[in-house]
Amino acid sequence: MSASANVEVKVKDGSGEDPEKLAAFEAHVQAGGLIEPNDWMPEDYRSLMLRMAEHHANSEIVGALPEGEWITRAPNLKRKLALTAKVQDEVGHGQMLYEVAQDLGKSRNAMLRDLITGKTKYHNCFNYPCPTWADICMIAWLIDGAAILNQGTLAHGSFGPYIRTMRRINMEEAFHFKHGEDMVLTLMSGTEHQKKMAQDAFDRWWGPSIAFFGPHDRPDELERPAMKWRMKTATNDELRQKFVNRFAPAAMATGLVINVCEKDEHGMVTKATPDPLLKLDEETGNWGFTQPDWDEFYRVIRGNGPCNDERVALRRFSYEQGEWVRNAILNGQTTSQN
């Protein structure tokens, strides 16, 4: 569901490496070449790639939590099966991405431990509340839709195991998106109660969806290691604009109104007014839009969002209650294999 576009890590740019090897490496990746785990790579590349894959894996398994909580309340047999399968997919994505990170030198157990102690992060968007069934519909439509755009570009990156995993994940995400789109359309062609549920949930999720791609690009964005080494192939602002161009007209076509919202500390909307900047620029083909609330974004990233504590606590519960099982199944080899 999620992606690592907005992973904020401080990395060096390979200085200190053998200049000839570094130059050959950069020429190789810039020409579209792939890097495999046993190839030579700058230590900073390994470190950044590991953190990207780990952050992405963490996001998948934390992303499973808000949706997982609604499986038991899904309103019919088809939705119940589909939602279970979707959340199962997200856990599967986590499993695949942890494997990618493991190959770069960190054990799964160490990654799961760092996640529950707060040493590592997961995607910001999972720190928002899901108070109704319609929130589940919006996550599958908007957040999975955002993830597809982002991961579509990550699938053209430079690290072989990561991009092969991205391609496989993206095929499954396409199903998730269709599942989300179908649920949103069902609500918006339903009763007044359902339409209101959908609008309220859309108001909660539009902001986190456009913030999904991460903070504004920096002036030197293209020179930063993630872009220079082709781990990312599109900038945050490019992806955000692409997302709005696709989803603003799609949302309006269903009857949803795109609002600028104020929220309380629980992430619930206290005031919603139609976005005054929402307009198609005929020349560029771009839709104008009000930027997400960046103060809120940074507050949530720093751990002070509406659901940060709840999500980490549930992961910790899962880790701790399962420790005896891992010890039994892996015969005490949890440190190296799990």
Partner: protein, 258 residues
């Protein structure tokens, strides 16, 4: 079963619902583990078991729905509590203890396999055809869950103790599976249910065979015929909690399409 009278029809419906309700609530309970199971690979596998169980329930609701002139969804989500015919074991709270979840699934999966094997010979051809298909998937479930019991019983002293305790903890509740739904005798008379052996004895033998491989012994007592339980619509508080959750969104507007 070429012709069907009203009493037999109701008995057939009760039979389908009793199996489907077991499967629905078992899948419902197990889907709670999706996203938080102890190992990612186990999470994915357990989620598949939950999906199998809910899909089996759907197929049986469809079959019953044809006789009831009702949709599978309305049958699954829209009945009053005492119209559900699941056994008490499927809704018993597992307290998010993996040993409890495994013990419950071990008992239920083995029982369901026996039921499907038996109903594959039913004189009701539609039920027989469905059960022949479900037997194949159910056997995979049984292989998987039998293996889990073995793994936990041979893992560490702690895991052996935990799974042994859980198997004992769920032994009484397992008896609830053997209560028969109203009209069951009529189905035996008409070969809708083809009884060649006592299902409790057959189940107990299969369970004992698996447990003997890992030196675990559990005593079972079939008290189902002495008490009115889930198959008669008499349910526990744990069932009520599960049903409230199951119906939470559906009840917001039962006429709406979701």
């Amino acid at each position: 079963m070429s012709t069907i009278d009203e009493a037999t029809q109701q008995a057939v419906i009760n039979l389908c619902l009793s199996i489907a309700d077991d499967k629905l609530f078992l899948g419902h309970r197990n889907s709670n583990w999706t996203g938080i199971a102890p190992i990612l690979e186990a999470d994915i596998a357990f989620s598949s078991l939950a999906q199998d169980d809910i899909a089996h329930a759907s197929a049986l609701y469809e079959l019953a729905g044809n006789l009831m002139d009702e949709t599978a969804d309305n049958i699954a989500f829209g009945r009053k509590p005492d119209a559900y015919l699941c056994s008490n074991i499927v809704t018993k709270d597992d307290q998010f203890d993996w040993a409890n979840a495994i013990a419950r699934q071990f008992y239920c999966s083995n029982f369901d396999l026996l039921r499907f094997e038996r109903l594959s010979n039913s004189s009701w051809s539609e039920l027989a055809a469905l059960c022949k298909r479900l037997v194949v998937e159910q056997q995979i479930q049984v292989n998987h869950i039998n293996d889990w019991v073995k793994q936990l019983a041979t893992g560490t002293p702690e895991s052996k103790e935990r799974i042994t305790n859980a198997l004992n903890e769920y032994a009484d509740a397992a008896s609830s599976m053997f209560e028969t739904p109203y009209g069951f005798d009529l189905l035996i008379e008409q070969d809708v249910v083809n009884v060649t052996e006592d299902i409790f004895d057959a189940w107990q033998a299969r369970i004992a065979e698996q447990l003997s491989l890992v030196d675990i012994s559990v005593d079972f007592e079939n008290t189902a015929s002495e008490n009115e339980g889930g198959r008669s619509g008499v349910h526990s508080d744990d069932f009520a909690d599960s049903l409230t959750e199951l119906q939470a969104v559906y009840k917001e507007d039962p006429a709406a399409s979701w």
